[in-house]
Structure formats: C-alpha cells, structure tokens
Symmetry: C2
Subunit: 307 residues, 2 copies
C-alpha cells in the first residue's frame, strides 16, 4: 500500500497508539511515525522497543510538522493537549483522536484548532484489557469498525484520507454524528463495561464466597465479565464522566428490565424467563454472522490455553 | 486409562452429555455408554452421529443395568426422571447429575433413590452457548472444575469413583456442600447470566439504536455478554426458579453497587469511579494465573476468526 501521510504524530502511547504504529508499519501507510507520551517512563519504553521512528520529549515537538496528529490520550486529557499543540499545527494538516466519547471531545478540542487545519474525530472500536506501549499489536483493528464523526461542513478530502488510513490498518469505516455515536456506544460499550465492573466488584467484596472460589469457578460465566472489567481505569473514568446522559439513560433501561426479571424469579414466573432468554439468543447468531465474534467452542480458549 | 464403569447411562443428550460421551471415549473410561433423550428427534440425531454405543427409546431401558446413571436434563426435569428410573436402578450403582443447582436437585431426587444405590450429585462448570447432541466435544471439561456435592454420610468409595471419572474426562474435582455451592454459583454464574440476558434484551429493544448497529459495533464490549446470553433458555429458566434465594441475594448486592456507581456518574465523582475500576482489575490477573482464561489478545479471537 502507498504512504498516506508523510508524518504521523501519535500523542499518547498506550494500547491504541502502539497498535496503530504496528498496523501502519504493516501496510506502509506512514512515511514517518513520531510519538509522545506524558510519562517519561512510557517514552523510555517506547524508545527501547523501537515503537515509533522518533519519540519526542515534548508534545509540541511531536505535533509540529505532522501531516496527521492523532490524540490517543484519555478523553479527559484531550482539551489540554489540543490547547498546547493548536498553535503549532501545520496548515492543511489533519488532527484526529481515538476517544470513546465524541460530543465532549469535539466540544473541548474544536476551539483550539486553527482555521486551515482539519479536525476529523474518530473512534476505533477495538481493545483488549491491556494498556501501555508494549500492549499494541498490528491485528487489533482487523475487521473491527472505526467510526468517523466529521462535522457537517468537514473537508471531504481530509475525511476520505483518514478513512483510507483506517482501512489500511484493517478496519471498516463508518460515519455517524456525535450524538448518535455516543448513544450507540452507551449501549454496545459503556453500559456493558459499567455492569461488568459492578459484577466483578460485587464478587470481590462478598464475605461468604472467597476470592479464590470466584477465581477457580469463574469459567461458569463470570470470566466473560472480567476481561472488560480489567480495562484501563483512567480511560473508563473519563468515558463515564463525559458520556453521562446516554449512559444514565441506558442504565435506567437496564435496571428497569433487571427488576422485571428479578420479580419473575421471585414470583416463579418461568414463562416470562423462558421467553426473555429465547429472544436474546438470536442476537448472538447475528454477531457471529457479521464476523464480530467467533463461533469456536469456548471462544477458541481451548486452543489458546496451550499457548 | 482403565475402564471405571462398565455401563454408563446418560439421561438427556445435550451439550454436557454429548461432551461426556466424547471425553469418556477419549480416555476409555466406560465399557459401554447408553443414552436416552425425551425427544425422538434428538435420539435420531444421536444414533445418526454414533454418539453412544446404544440409544434407548425409554429412560427405564437406559438406566436399568447401568453402573452409573447421570441425569443430564434441565434441573426442572430431574424429579420426574428420578421417579421413573428409581425402581429399576441396579443395587450398588451410582446415580449422579450435572445440574447447575444442587439443593433443589438433591431435595427432589433423593426420595426416589432406593437404598443400596449411591446418589452423588455433581456439577461440571463448563459450557458453551450451543446445545444438543451435536454440540459436544471431548475437550469441554479439560482444566475446568467439577464440583461434587455428596451427602455427609455418602459412600466414600462411590464418591471417589465418580471423582476419578471426572478427572479422567480432564476436570479438576472439588467437594462442597449444597448451600455453599448454590451461593458460589449464584456469584460466578447465575447472576452474571441474568445480567448478560438483561443487557442483551435492552440492546435488542431500543428504538433509537438499531439491531444492526448493536451487532456491527458489538466488539466494543457488548459482544462479551452475548455468548452467555445465548445459552439454553430452558436450562436457565430452571436455574433461576431453583436457585431463587441465592440469586436474589446477589442481585440485591449488584443493584446496590450499580446504584452507587450510577450516582457517582451523575455527580461527576471521578475518584469513586477510578478507585472502583482499579480494584476490579486485579481479579482478572488472578483468573489468568489460575488457568481459567487465556491472556491472548482479544480472547484468541484474532486467530479463531480465520477458522
């Protein structure tokens, strides 16, 4: 594949940025990749493993002269970074981000973008429970979606170029407006994460069941919650603080439904339970057909455990 | 490995029974395996794929002469089966089950067990979202736990023999009393399943987010809920109807915690969220160390998707 951006600057060097490094290199999409991380330790590790072509000691040095700057920091840190780099952004360059929330990010970043610079917010829907510069891998975005959330008057060439980069990194690209993105993600990501965190917290906190029992017997279902409940705490704190309304709306729906099922259990209403459980089964099939999960027994874990 | 039981009868031929067939054959643990399923269609499929040595058309014919009878039917169907086969059980034989709930099963099955027959209740903690005689595979129990719940005055030889069978099928064996089992499973399995069912139901029912969006963007977290929410509806209806108290207790704790997090989001209390999310991270690590999950990126899905 051909080079899409001559110089790409990644601000923040965690799971997403480090995976972008590997994915861009796999396909030869960037002439040069420079990176910056706030923590000196992270920068040191990035240098040690040769993550980017160059690791800068200041965010300004990284962003200056870049043709594409991608903010890969927690949502709560985006504004400060935008404020700092705004004045040095090269005319005609594109600035993007990978935040899990879009309305707030757009609201706080936009004021700092000089005219002549294209702001194209983005959100790749991919992750693992690992973080840091060592956690990235080139395949993270393969067959996953990246949602672009450009303004209505965005420069279409800039949008298409960024879409091309994400496709080159293996992703499928969709476009959405910020409000709808935040609601869709509240359903498919934010509320599930909060629920998983809650369930794991409850299990960890019971006096009558020991942690070691929870761990030993986790394969009975609990295990599936622990992966997402192990995700980066700062990232998720910022997600909930910045997608408050949509998350609270979906949580409200969730507790309403949960109470109805709870009452069915209390009253011994087997028909209600059976009907509910039958309805939820079909959505799983659709997810597998859409290539967003595997049908392999036990999630392919049987194989993976020997690795 | 040597034959442990000359004749094993499996009553019900779903995921667990069919996996037991494959696992017993893999290690040569049974002289002969006979099976019975209530549905003629299931019996026909079992014959067609050669699942057991013999598929019987009556439960009595299957259980008679068996050295081990394992009830692999939903919890709500156990009593009727025990009542029917009780009179024909061979003196000295062992009867067991694989139900996810133990107190109720023991209460309804015990009265039908003639004296001289050993009842050793069991629960293998393993499963996939698939059901039926074609869904079984020999590796299902490898490195998973099987919990035996024998009465205090149980015949230890009979208990050890059954433990040997489960070990031979790849499982690790633990013993527990019925009440504790039901509480531990309410935490590690029953409540997580109910919550997953609820979340999937909510997502399926929203007007403002389409099903196709939920499916496309499921890799952002929601996906992890859908596997367990695709499990067999009859089995799970019976679990909740028969482990009512423990499930309602854990659900109560869950909603209490969820409300506290919900309030933290509403009030913008980032410290509370961050502390909570940090605490839940460590339990994941312990599960991987205990060999109950894989550390592979994306659950090993990246590899599995090419299959």
């Amino acid at each position: 594949m051909a080079v899409i951006y001559e110089r790409v600057a990644l601000i923040g060097l965690g799971l997403i940025a480090s995976s972008m490094c590997h994915a861009m290199r796999r396909a030869g999409l960037a002439g040069e990749i420079v990176g910056y991380a706030k923590s000196a330790e992270t920068r040191e590790i990035a240098r040690e493993i040769g993550l980017c072509d160059q690791v800068c000691d200041s965010v300004v040095a990284a962003a200056k002269d870049a043709d594409l700057v991608v903010l890969c920091v927690p949502v709560g840190a985006m504004e400060a970074v935008a404020q700092e780099i705004g004045p040095v952004l090269k005319p005609g360059c594109t600035i993007s981000d990978v935040g899990s929330v879009k309305r707030t990010v757009i609201d706080v970043v936009s004021p700092h973008i000089p005219s002549g610079v294209h702001f194209v917010p983005a959100h790749p829907l991919a992750g693992t429970e690992h973080s840091g510069p060592r956690s990235g891998f080139a395949e993270l975005f393969d067959n996953r979606f990246c949602i672009l959330v450009p303004a209505q008057d965005a420069d279409r060439d800039a949008v298409e170029k960024l879409a091309g980069l994400w496709r080159g990194m293996g992703a499928q690209v969709d476009e959405m407006d910020a409000e709808h993105h935040d609601l869709v993600l509240a359903v498919t990501s934010h509320t599930p994460h909060l629920i998983a965190y809650t369930m794991v917290g409850v299990a960890d906190d019971l006096r009558r069941v020991t942690d070691s029992e929870v761990i030993k017997y986790s394969a009975a279902g609990f295990r599936d919650f622990t992966r997402i409940a192990a995700s980066d705490p700062v990232m998720w704190r910022d997600v909930f603080l910045n997608n408050k309304e949509a998350t609270l709306e979906i949580l409200g729906r969730f507790t309403e439904e949960l109470f109805a099922l709870q009452r069915a259990i209390r009253q011994g209403d087997g028909d209600h339970l059976h009907d509910y459980f039958t309805r939820t089964r079909s959505i799983r099939r659709s997810i597998i057909e859409a290539g967003q999960d595997t049908d392999a027994p036990d999630f392919g874990r049987a194989k993976a455990k020997d690795v």
